[in-house]
């Protein structure tokens, strides 16, 4: 079973609050690029184009997926840095 962490609880609390901030930033962008650009504002974005494709359509079929991959890279980077700041880092 799990044991309570040896760290003082203020460190844990601080860590948790910052990680929630990172999480909400990631999820905000996630929502904006997919549901926002790909569905809700698709029609207005279609007025612009990327190459030969309307932007809203392109966001739904290509752009949002590229953003998702970028988001996971950013998440991993930010969370690892947060771990190091709080002394929770581990070797892979």
């Amino acid at each position: 079973m799990t044991k309570p962490s040896a760290k003082p609880s203020s460190t844990n609390k601080n860590y948790w609050h910052t990680s929630l901030k990172i999480l909400f930033s990631i999820l905000f962008i996630w929502f904006f690029v997919s549901f926002g650009c790909g569905i809700l504002f698709k029609d207005s974005l279609d007025a612009f184009s990327i190459g030969g494709a309307p932007l809203g359509f392109w966001m739904a079929q290509q752009g949002s997926i590229l953003c998702f991959v970028g988001l996971l890279l950013a998440y991993s980077f930010w969370m690892n840095r947060l771990d190091e700041q709080h002394g929770y880092e581990e070797e892979e």
């Binding site: 962490s5 790909g38 029609d43 290509q62 890279l73 690892n80 771990d83």
Partner: protein, 595 residues
């Protein structure tokens, strides 16, 4: 060399590799069997998860679905990739830290209740069972096409192979086989698309071709490909390819349900229990989505290319001038032409070719394609001018032939289909067998059984599961398999996702709340799906939300009920609250998995 010889060579080599890996990585303990000992590298796990995730349906049908639906298919593209953002940020790092072998383990411990564990086990079994049936059917169909055998023989061969390496090697065997299967899939999928992109747009990268110019009519007539496809579509009576969905709310709900469902699928979650620690989980999730994106970013390009090519090569052509692949696939019942206006020319338009059922062409006994089009015995729908029927799966299957590629590429695509079906089936089989051996036998029925006995139960359960899946693969309940996607995702979205999220992010939600929430969420989602899919033909949906999207509402109900019930009952015990605190801190996951 003959096509059949190439098929045998490719399938033979890939099967040899899979079996070799299975023997090399035989599991010795339950820990290796369930989570590969928690020692898989993030990169390898990423590849394996991508292969696990992409099923036969994704591989064979997705591009065809996009070609047919245009923008409307974006819900699948976003839904099945965006779910990984939810999965990575909200679930797997914390569940990995918790460090147990299965998802019901977490539910049972966090909500300190075997009743909650049992509900979770039933959901896991149901989700995986519905999913695996479709995979077995897929394997059977591919084999029957490849070697001209009956579908039931194909299902049995596929089932035997999967049982051999999943039952023997457990998670360890599955993981390394899936790495090999991903490699086969990615080459099989992208190579033909690169060639077809070069022919149509002159760009070697399909994603650039998608936003590039159509150059097949000569450089002076170049125009943006998307403009071309929109024009073709409206000329033939279809909606514009890029036209918005007619019901934005439904599009929103389906996308949300697919994303949330993805994040709640047990066979995807357990994949992240195989890496060493939380840091490795984050990295592995990034690799997973990258590998998935390679195929998901290619599929929309393939959809447009294939549809343009299809119309240009078929429409307004005489049957005698039709390309060879038309006749090949006509013999397979995948494409058919009915000369409604008797002008000897094939007209491809919007609308149905056949009226009522069967949906697929049924040929008259004495008709062959040697002299002319095969005659069908279906009722003809004379209300539309469309004369060409095609099965959307040929977009991927016939793609190499449409691009004029050599026979070995066709064999590679077939090997890719088989790899996609086998890798997903193996992952599902593992969750099914651990649900029975670990969650049901060890944790609920008899906690005293030894590690060895538990392994024996796991192997027996995987045999049982594959036998049932094979049975339903051979005798699919009428049109059931196609509708099960709504089931699996709706269930995962309305049961596991909210329950796991609340378990991690709230210390207040207790066992009463979680159980009530799960039951209401699942109850609502299941009744809605069963009512509209099986009991009535009416499409009089609530606010126009189709059964595929109802899991989103089910999730909202689960959250609401769980919070309401928890707020009027006692908070969880102190040690559970401490446990929740503990899983929020990433350090020490490696140690925690020694159970």
């Amino acid at each position: 060399m003959d096509q059949t010889v190439w098929n045998f060579i490719f399938i033979g080599i890939t099967f040899g590799i899979y079996i070799g890996i299975a023997i090399w990585s035989r599991a010795g303990s339950t820990k290796e069997y369930y989570t590969a000992g928690g020692s898989v590298s993030p990169f390898a796990n990423g590849m394996a998860t991508a292969a696990d995730w992409m099923s036969a349906a994704t591989f064979i049908s997705m591009a065809g679905g996009i070609a047919a639906a245009g923008y409307g298919a974006s819900k699948f593209l976003m839904g099945w990739t965006g779910g990984f953002v939810l999965l990575t940020t909200l679930m797997v790092p914390y569940l990995r830290k918790f460090g147990k072998a299965t998802v019901p383990d977490f539910v049972g411990d966090r909500y300190y209740s075997n009743a909650a564990r049992l509900v979770a086990v039933i959901c896991a079994i149901f989700i995986c069972m519905t999913y695996i049936m479709g995979q077995m059917r897929g394997v059977g169909i591919v084999f029957s096409r490849l070697f001209s055998i009956e579908i039931w023989m194909g299902v049995l061969i596929g089932g035997g192979i999967v049982f051999f390496y999943a039952g023997l090697g457990g998670m360890k065997g599955i993981t390394y086989t899936q790495v090999a299967q991903y490699c086969v899939m990615v080459f099989a999928y992208t190579i033909p698309v690169i060639f077809i992109s070069l022919i149509i747009t002159g760009d070697a990268m399909p994603q650039l071709g998608l936003i590039g110019d159509y150059i097949k009519d000569g450089p002076d007539k170049a125009q943006p490909l998307i403009e071309k496809i929109n024009q073709i579509s409206t000329d033939l009576g279809f909606r514009e390819y890029t036209a918005s969905s007619s019901n934005t709310l439904d599009m929103f709900c389906i996308t949300a349900a697919l994303m949330i469902g993805t994040a709640g699928l047990p066979h995807v979650i357990v994949r992240f229990f195989t890496v060493k620690n939380v840091r490795a989980v984050r990295k592995s999730a990034f690799w997973t989505l990258s590998f998935i994106a390679v195929i998901y970013l290619t599929a929309p390009a393939l959809g447009i290319f294939a549809r343009t090519n299809f119309v240009e090569e078929i429409n307004q052509k005489k049957y005698q001038q039709a390309p060879d692949w038309f006749k090949n696939w006509e013999n397979q019942g995948m494409i058919a032409w009915v000369d409604k206006n008797n002008d000897g020319v094939m007209q491809y338009r919007a609308g149905k070719v056949f009226a009522g059922k069967p949906l697929k062409p049924v040929y008259a006994e004495d008709s062959t394609s040697d002299v002319g089009p095969r005659k069908v015995t279906n009722n003809i729908d004379m209300s539309s001018q469309n004369e060409v029927y095609y099965d959307k799966d040929i977009i991927v299957l016939a793609n190499p032939e449409m691009a004029g590629l050599p026979p070995w590429v066709i064999a590679l695509v077939m090997a890719g289909c088989v790899a996609a079906a086998l890798s997903t089936a193996a992952g599902l089989l593992l969750v099914l067998s651990t649900s029975v051996s670990h969650d049901l036998m060890k944790k609920i029925i008899n906690p005293k059984i030894s590690d060895k006995q538990e392994m024996k139960y796991a192997r027996m359960a995987s045999f049982g599961a594959i036998a049932i899946a094979a049975y339903f693969g051979i005798n699919p309940p009428a049109s059931f398999v196609a509708k099960t996607v709504a089931f699996a995702f709706g269930l995962a979205a309305s049961s596991f996702f909210p329950t796991l999220i609340m378990g991690i992010f709230s210390k207040r939600v207790n066992k009463e709340g979680a159980i009530a929430g799960m039951i209401c969420g699942i109850g609502f989602t299941l009744s809605y799906i069963i009512y509209f899919q099986f009991l009535t033909d009416s499409k009089d949906y609530w606010f126009g939300i189709s059964p595929e999207g109802i899991g989103f509402l089910g999730m909202v109900i689960n959250f609401a009920v769980a919070f309401a019930v928890s707020s009027v009952t006692a908070p969880p015990p102190k040690e559970i609250q401490d446990m929740v605190e503990e899983i929020r801190i990433p350090k020490g996951a490696g140690k925690a998995s020694q159970h």
